[in-house]
């Protein structure tokens, strides 16, 4: 019976996953095609792969510069964000007051203004501060855009920790810092990892501010992709190749962090 359940689970998980990921698989396939092969009807499943599109992307755009900018802004904004958000989430989760939910909602409301409506104010602000086309501006914008998300996710994760464990730690005389390092951090690794990964991805893919606040020096991979969208002429193979190059670093990070993602509370599993 157990075997059958396992088989069912495996098959259904794989089938559904492959269906969900199919468009992505198609993207990967197209990246290795020529433009002519990419538009063929019926679409080709079997073809001789070529690195032509990747080569074109590499010679045409400064991939390394854009990748470096993406890495810097994403990583910095995630780290700074976590440094600010974690204490706030900790405070709200374990020192709850009447106002906690209001503050949570207020934080979320700071993201309610569509970016496109705030473009001119922010552009003027950045220009006044002399921060147009700078990594500083992008990092600041990413950090502040993701901060509410981080607070919410960390809050939710911290609330999953049974208060009894904290009690026990306090009984043993652990101060706040001790609590955090010895109790919270190990238990909340999953939440911290998934929050960090999420915000990394959100910053990585952030296109609106990246495009508008950068020009020659601070362009990220998101702006690189923008240069491959819809020119006059066939572009799908190149766009796929560029997209693949753009998401490759993130997928690698995701792959290596997936153990951390699912670590955390495993009550009863270790017996």
């Amino acid at each position: 019976m157990k075997q059958l359940a396992l088989l069912l689970r495996t098959v259904s998980a794989w089938v559904i996953t492959l269906l969900v990921v199919f468009p992505l698989i198609w993207l990967v396939l197209t990246a290795f095609k020529t433009e002519l092969q990419a538009i063929r009807v019926p679409p080709e499943l079997f073809f001789t792969p070529t690195l032509e599109s990747f080569r074109e992307v590499n010679t045409r755009s400064d991939y390394l510069l854009h990748a470096k900018n993406s890495v810097l802004t994403s990583v910095l904004s995630t780290l700074v964000g976590l440094a600010i958000a974690a204490p706030a989430a900790y405070s709200m989760a374990f020192f709850r007051t009447r106002r906690t939910r209001d503050i949570l909602m207020w934080m979320l409301s700071t993201k309610m203004m569509p970016a496109v409506g705030a473009l001119v104010p922010v552009y003027v602000m950045a220009q006044t501060a002399g921060l147009l086309d700078s990594l500083t501006a992008l990092t600041v914008v990413f950090t502040l855009s993701n901060l509410p998300i981080m607070v919410w996710m960390l809050y939710s994760g911290f609330k999953d920790i049974p208060p009894d464990i904290l009690e026990a730690a306090r009984m043993d005389g652990a101060g706040v810092w001790g609590e955090f390092v010895h109790v919270i951090r190990p238990l909340a690794t999953g939440t911290l990892a998934s929050t960090a990964l999420l915000c990394l991805v959100l910053s990585w893919n952030e296109a609106f501010w990246s495009l508008n606040l950068s020009s020659a020096k601070a362009g990220t991979l998101a702006t690189l992709i923008a240069s491959y969208s819809s020119p006059e002429g066939l572009f799908w193979a190149k766009l796929s190749a560029a997209s693949l190059l753009a998401i490759a670093p993130i997928v690698v990070v995701g792959w290596f962090s997936q153990k951390q993602l699912v670590q955390g509370l495993t009550f009863g599993a270790v017996k």
Partner: protein, 435 residues
């Protein structure tokens, strides 16, 4: 600031000053093939002009336009050279946002095609130099029309086009009679529909600036368009723009296509087209008048008035649009790949005419398009497939959405035109053209 900090700062600046003797030119450009080619030839320019380094920002057309407009209007100063179109140039030139361009004699500014030069000038002053120009024309599959016994005159009528489409329409064999743009956008479907309306005798605004979308020519043109596409067009047309149709055409699925002349260079390229040697060209179809039946567009290089590197910028833009540059591209990639539609000398060059089979038709199209006189009745605006007023972008997309609705059958032609008219009227009223 204390003295130590000031000293440190001064040293830092001095170092920076020493390192930055090279001028960095930031160039915003569109990601079309010719511009990409220009980017690749950066080393040539930098070799000939030591001390100037080119920094590129390449974006898709719509995004580029938004980006450079936001920057120039807020005086952001992010770009030294901007790639703008024939739409922006008259508007920005009038506002004094662009530096007037006075090229040297060696540049031979008289060699520029008159249509291009006039389209990029305001009161005789040149505000942008054309890098690449295009018009629109009919590109049809000669093998299919020959089989059906059809011949086209140099400029066919819309009825002739419809009859031809009917004869070569064969969905079972995977060929659709005619493919036309349908995706909402002032430069997407509206570019084409405007030329169609022009050729039926219509105009966007009368001399009192009132929109004319419910006039008879517009009604006839849009009805014809919707009918033609419903009967002989491919499915999914209401989301199709240049690239989608290019893919269809290259796969042999379109019998006819009316679109930008640059399409011809793609569909006749055996490396990306299955039907490269089966294409022939004719001028944009007309009904009541050939005026405005094919559009005029140029991507041009302009210098924002606020730039600090005006001299270097002028050096660059005159290099990129010179005869020498065109020869350079010909040497590197062949005559079929040079940016066209800008200079008379290009079309006078026999090697070019031999390599680019579409060149003759393209030149005819460009010569026949006049943004100052593109409608049957006199119009207060400049532009063939658009009206060069700032409000046009928002009006264009609103009308484009309605045309797409009519095409997809979600609204009747009359309903669509009525909604379009009221949207246009609303914007014009708000902008103060009339009360």
């Amino acid at each position: 600031m204390n003295s130590k900090a000031t000293l440190a700062l001064a040293c830092g600046l001095a170092l920076c000053g020493a390192a930055a003797s090279a001028t960095d030119l930031v160039i915003a450009t569109v990601n079309n093939g010719h511009m990409i080619e220009m980017q690749k030839l950066t080393p040539e320019f930098e070799k000939a002009n030591p001390g100037i380094k080119l920094k590129w920002v390449t974006l898709e057309e719509g995004v580029l336009r938004q980006r450079v407009t936001t920057d120039i209007a807020t005086k952001g100063g992010q770009f030294d050279v901007m790639t703008i179109g024939m739409y922006e140039t008259p508007i920005w030139g009038k506002k004094g946002w662009l530096k007037e361009i006075k090229p040297e004699a060696a540049y031979d500014v008289d060699d520029l095609l008159p249509a291009m030069r006039n389209g990029l000038s305001v009161e005789g002053k040149l505000y942008a130099v054309p890098f690449y120009g295009e018009s629109s024309m009919l590109m049809y599959r000669k093998d299919l029309t020959d089989k059906a016994g059809i011949t086209f005159p140099e400029r066919p009528t819309w009825e002739q086009v419809r009859d031809a489409a009917a004869k070569i329409h064969d969905p079972k064999a995977g060929v659709y009679g005619i493919c036309l743009r349908g995706k909402p956008g002032w430069g997407d479907n509206m570019a084409f529909i405007t030329t169609m309306a022009n050729s039926f005798g219509g105009q966007w605004f009368d001399m009192g600036w009132k929109p004319q979308l419910e006039s008879k020519p517009w009604h006839d043109a849009v009805t014809f368009y919707v009918d033609l596409m419903k009967k002989y067009g491919p499915p999914g047309s209401s989301a199709n723009s240049f690239n989608e149709i290019l893919a269809l055409y290259n796969e042999g699925k379109c019998g006819m296509w009316i679109d930008a002349t640059i399409a011809a260079s793609f569909i006749t390229d055996p490396k990306q087209s299955k039907v490269a040697d089966k294409v022939a060209f004719a001028q944009g179809p007309y009904s009541a008048t050939p005026k405005g039946a094919n559009w005029l567009w140029a991507w041009a290089l302009a210098i924002p008035a606020g730039t600090k590197n005006a001299d270097a910028a002028q050096k660059f833009i005159t290099w990129a649009t010179s005869k020498e540059y065109i020869n350079l591209v010909a040497k590197e990639k062949g005559w079929a790949a040079v940016p066209t539609g800008t200079r008379k000398s290009t079309y006078a060059n026999p090697e070019f005419m031999k390599a680019a089979k579409f060149a003759e038709a393209e030149k005819k199209a460009i010569d026949s398009a006049n943004p100052n006189d593109s409608t049957l009745l006199k119009s207060p605006y400049v532009g063939v497939q658009y009206a060069a007023i700032p409000e046009f972008q928002a009006i264009g997309i609103a009308v484009g959405q309605q045309m797409s609705a009519a095409l997809s059958g979600k609204a009747t032609v009359d309903q669509a035109l009525k909604t379009a008219q009221s949207a246009a009227d609303r914007e014009m009223r708000k902008a103060g053209y009339y009360k």
